[in-house]
Amino acid sequence: MAKKAKPEHYISKFEYGLKQAKRYRLLYVMLLPYMLCFTAFTIIPVVVSIFFSFTQFNVLQPPELIGFENYIRLFLDDPIFLKSVKNTLLLAVIIGPFGYLFSFLMAWLLCELPPKLRTVLTVIFYAPSISGNAYVIFTQLFSGDAYGFVNSRLLNLGIITEPILWLRDEKYMMLIVILVSIWMSLGVGFLSFIAGLQGVDRAQYEAAEVDGVKNRWQELWYITLPNMIPQLLFGAVMAVTNALAVADVTVALNGFPSTNYATHTIINHLNDYGIIRLEMGYACSIAVLLFFMMLFINKAVQRMLEKVGT
């Protein structure tokens, strides 16, 4: 028996793709401007970073390939980098989960309120993260002299006898950075939670009430959270990315470089080499490590969140 003949109109997958592409060619035109910018300022920089990270490059002379030397230097010959990794991870481990839970809890509580009050409180909670550098006010609250707000209160109460250098003493610097970062952590993710919570179908809650869900915590776990997985994932991405990118706050509060590098983060280190010392190759190797760190942690957190409510 002869092999089954291919139908006449049969085309390969590739040909089909080409046909589709031709059919939708106007859509590619629409995508073009955005994708050009995106390629030029996001994709190419990532690729170029990876290339530069294997070179020695100071902008003036052409890059010179040196293999893994930058990476070897990072891990074996740069104690400040290792310290910055430690600081960044410590900050991320605290700010990430706390900021995330804090945003969710606040959003959850806000949703019970009447609309007008809810709006006012949303603005109060979101305001710190809106505008670029509102955190600078903390330099006055935690100012190191007796005129600082916190110091003056503690002095008056007799808790301390001389002002504490909150922003220069290694013992307190990390604590203040964490405090300020959590203050600023109710950002886009928080808005997403509020909107998501309002979108959960009311009928499900009523059904749950009849079916014997006993209290608000059960309701949260069995109804609210499973309904909000997309928003939870989005909020997690925002939280992880922000927690690993703490840098401006430490510069504003603790100066650059901070006392004994106590709050030096990976991005501080990256800016140090990339902008001040112009060792672009070395800076790029830091950027590449941070890039993969961010992607890896994000993916891991997403894996975890998919198990919520099951």
Partner: protein, 317 residues
């Protein structure tokens, strides 16, 4: 005799009813309690009150630095250096704003020039971002064609790392394109913010496809569809995109990219001001209030639109 028996029966009935009620949760009858528990029987009133008290306490903590900043801006010089510093201003004045005004009048480059620079960057950046992002979001949200999935995934992936990672090569690329020391070095990277495209794409996905089918039967091309049908339907999304890119561009100092004083944006100039020591504490307070208040007001105006957009912001599998 008969009467007494009846009451006994009634009492028995009442006791039974009470027992039956004990098995269930209480139903609150006061208006206050119903409001607090959202009229749901499985919520305890005391729990609601405790949680709300926590919420209000935390909101006061969150508000504290903001209040301090606002009242600092209106403090006269003797109150700024008082011991111990007060949270609230006693005799509010506009002195700090006058000082700021005088200082700016003396600057080499007129103050209005800095404002123009920032407005130029913010407006071109935000509007350009809206145009580019909606043009890109339309195909990605409503059609399936070769490459569409890859592009969507790349955008979600780029949400996962901050722009600090790409800052160094960005400088090299800018200088290669000859854009260093121009407005475009700040505007162009902002045009392709991935958060904007992501939000726009998700919002467009919920616009009924039937609308597009109808338009395509009527012979509309893709550009007309986007402009006439989609854009009016996604108004909350482009308002949100405006707010998001405004927030990121309003504070942009253009440091590392812009060197010429003439084209520096406002925040760069203000950071020079604030770098000049204790003598200018009042002026610094005034400027930080001004920088803070503009995006907050914009958010207050547009918050219902922003929240509507955020409702679709989830990452789907």
């Amino acid at each position: 005799m008969k009467k007494q028996k009846l009451t006994k029966n009634q009492k028995k009935m009442q006791r039974l009813q009470k027992q039956a009620l004990k098995g269930q949760k209480k139903i609150y009858h006061s208006k206050f309690a119903r409001m607090m528990t959202n009229s749901r029987s499985n919520r305890s009133l005391s729990g609601s009150i405790v949680l709300l008290a926590c919420l209000f306490a935390l909101s006061l903590v969150m508000l504290f630095p903001v209040v301090f900043m606002i009242s600092n801006a209106f403090k006269p010089i003797n109150e700024l250096f008082i011991f111990p510093p007060k949270l609230f201003v006693i005799q509010p004045t506009l002195d700090n704003f006058h000082d700021l005004n005088e200082l700016l009048a003396d600057s080499l480059v007129p103050f209005s020039r800095y404002i123009f620079n920032t407005l130029f960057i913010v407006i071109f950046g935000a509007i350009g971002h809206i145009v580019l992002a909606s043009m890109a979001a339309f195909p990605l949200s409503k059609f399936k064609f070769p490459g569409s999935k890859l592009m969507s995934e790349m955008v979600v992936m780029s949400l996962m790392f901050s722009s600090a990672v790409t800052a160094v090569p960005n400088y090299v690329i800018m200088s290669y394109l000859g854009l260093v020391d121009s407005y475009w070095s700040v505007i162009l990277p902002a045009l392709s913010m991935s958060l904007g495209l992501f939000l726009m794409k998700n919002f467009m996905e919920q616009v009924p496809t039937a609308l597009i089918d109808a338009a395509s039967i009527d012979g509309a091309n893709y550009f007309t569809m986007l402009w006439r049908i989609i854009m009016p339907a996604v108004k909350p999304a482009w308002i949100t995109l405006f707010i998001v890119s405004f927030q990121s561009l309003w504070g942009a100092t253009g440091a590392n990219f812009i060197y010429t004083e003439n084209i520096k944006p406002l925040p760069a100039m203000l950071s020079q001001l604030t770098g000049s020591g204790v003598a200018r504490t009042g002026v610094v307070a005034a400027t930080s209030l001004l920088m803070f208040i503009v995006p907050v007001i914009l958010f207050v105006i547009s918050q219902s639109n922003v929240l509507e957009t955020m409702a679709t912001s989830g990452i789907k599998e």
